[in-house]
């Protein structure tokens, strides 16, 4: 979702002093004030980067046991532009990019990080900067753009305490398996050769056999009559693995030979009644809005990658996750993957319970 330059600004007050923030951030700011005002629980923090006339500022909320005693403060205010923030965040997802992570933290967070020790920290990414807690080194945190903080906390607790067995997942995998698929997915600009994609697809099929999850690979998707049939299968899943080989969406070829694209806005329009946990792996998965789309469709949580990712890395992370899921909770299984993959540690993150403010639409819609 992009913002129009020359946006209007409104004042919000901090200890009697005004801070001029961009108008689009005000409804979420007010929503957070209400949420924290009614949350009678200590140890919950949210960082909300907002645009001001002079650059980015970060507002910090912290809950209190009385609800109304919550605090809000300007954690950081500087000259960092919106575009620079997006650039830094993109760089920060790379395992070696310690300097970008340092710059991002220096620009957005207070110097004293001990104030958040032992607390549940959420990041509010109201303007789709692509911020992930990992880039800010909040381990165990999550992205939140929610109008229901209490539900988000319950969700985070659910992910920390509950298991979803591998066999409860359904995987939708857009790797090409034939020349026709390759053309449908990449048009005339294929990345890797068909042999490579078939190899990667074979690895996923092997995982499906080993861990007994339902797989909709290219062959299975090709048998479905139309796009609605694919969307229907997604709606009925208890856990979802969503892997696309193309950046803008999942291009699949259906039985009639028609190539269709399932985009983030298609996903956002679904009604996921089983409140699934979703794993998204796509080129720029976080930035393309898939995580928020799944959450707004009713997913309980989404574990998404940021930036580009290789298919072999996707398969390796998935294998590790499924193996860990047999014994561990969702959050523990994610942590297991992060410990063995530097890319997963820095360029993946958890989204929980997005409920878009009234009148707003999912990205790409």
């Amino acid at each position: 979702m992009s913002r129009v330059f020359g946006s209007s600004y409104e004042s919000v007050m901090f200890d009697g002093k005004p801070l001029e923030i961009v108008s689009q951030d005000v409804p979420e700011f007010r929503s957070m004030e209400r949420q924290f005002g009614s949350l009678r629980r200590v140890g919950v923090v949210a960082y909300f980067p907002v645009e001001t006339k002079t650059g980015m500022a970060t507002i910090r909320f912290e809950s209190s046991s009385t609800g109304s005693g919550f605090t809000k403060s300007i954690a950081k205010s500087g000259s960092l532009s919106r575009q620079k923030l997006i650039d830094l965040e993109l760089q920060a997802g790379q395992p070696l990019a310690n300097s970008a992570r340092g710059d991002l933290q220096a620009a957005l967070l207070p110097a004293d990080r001990t104030i958040d020790a032992g607390k549940t920290v959420f990041i509010i990414d109201n303007a789709y900067y692509g911020l992930l807690p990992e880039a800010l080194e909040f381990h165990g945190g999550a992205v939140l753009s929610s109008s229901n903080l209490a539900t988000a906390l319950d969700t985070l607790k659910f992910l920390q305490e509950k298991q979803v067995k591998p066999e409860d997942f359904t995987a939708f995998v857009g790797y090409p398996e034939s020349d026709e698929d390759l053309k449908a997915v990449f048009k005339d600009q294929p990345t890797a050769t068909l042999d490579t994609w078939k190899e990667r697809s074979g690895e996923i099929r092997k995982l499906s056999d080993e861990f007994k999850f339902k797989l909709y690979g290219s062959s299975e998707l090709n048998k479905l009559p139309d796009k609605n049939a694919v969307l229907h299968e997604i709606e009925n899943s208890k856990g979802i693995v969503w892997i696309t080989a193309h950046s803008s969406g999942c291009r699949v070829r259906l039985s009639a030979g028609e190539a269709v694209e399932i985009s983030a806005s298609d996903i956002a329009g679904l009604h996921l009644t089983k409140k699934p946990f979703v794993i998204v792996r796509a080129c720029n998965g976080n930035e393309a809005g898939f995580a928020k789309a799944f959450i707004s469709a009713g997913a309980r949580g989404v574990w998404v990658n940021q930036g580009k990712i290789q298919a072999s890395e996707v398969n390796s992370q998935l294998k590790e996750f499924l193996a860990a899921s047999q014994q561990k909770t969702l959050a523990q299984a994610i942590e297991t993957v992060k410990q063995s993959s530097p890319l997963a540690a820095h360029a993946t993150g958890l989204h929980v319970e997005l409920i878009l403010p009234e009148g707003e639409h999912a990205p790409n819609q």
Binding site: P95, L96, A97, N98, S99, D103, F186, T191, P342
Partner: protein
């Protein structure tokens, strides 16, 4: 006589992904870590062909060259550690400047590495990529990576 060339646009390199930078490093380091017959063997076995299998396109992805980049870092680890990590002039300069002026830091690293490791000085492209990698990683984390033989970043 060696002819020096400009370091190009480190800013563009700074926006490259880790795997792109490692592949670039491998490309620049190829003559330093592989004999011509080994390069010939790599070519014949297809290792010099890129096979970008990332989801989506638009990135310079080359597993074979990235491996060469990692071999270079492992092979030259001692010299690099001596030049960067012994808390000498270069280390101090990189730490003094802070992490905010990346262009200045890259220039400092290029000058420092060229003078500290004369054998690499003629390879200006290599020095530039190496300097960007160093600044991007941060001097302490870079040194830790070099000293950790089991680092997943160099596998």
């Amino acid at each position: 006589m060696h002819q020096t060339s400009s370091s190009g646009s480190p800013e563009a390199l700074f926006r490259a992904s880790d795997s792109e930078l490692m592949a670039l490093l491998g490309l620049q380091a190829l003559p330093l870590v592989k004999q011509p017959d080994e390069v010939l063997a790599m070519g014949r076995s297809g290792d010099l062909y890129g096979n970008p299998e990332q989801l989506g396109g638009g990135e310079f992805e080359h597993g074979g060259l990235a491996q060469v980049g990692k071999i270079f870092l492992r092979t030259w680890a001692v010299e690099l550690q001596k030049a960067i990590c012994t808390k000498g002039t270069l280390y101090k300069k990189l730490r003094e400047k802070g992490s905010h002026q990346t262009d200045v830091l890259v220039a400092v690293a290029i000058g420092g590495l060229s003078s500290a490791i004369p054998a690499l000085a003629p390879f200006s492209g290599l020095i530039t990529v190496l300097s960007v990698l160093l600044v991007k990683t941060g001097v302490d984390a870079f040194c830790q990576m070099l000293s950790d033989k089991g680092s997943p970043l160099l596998k």
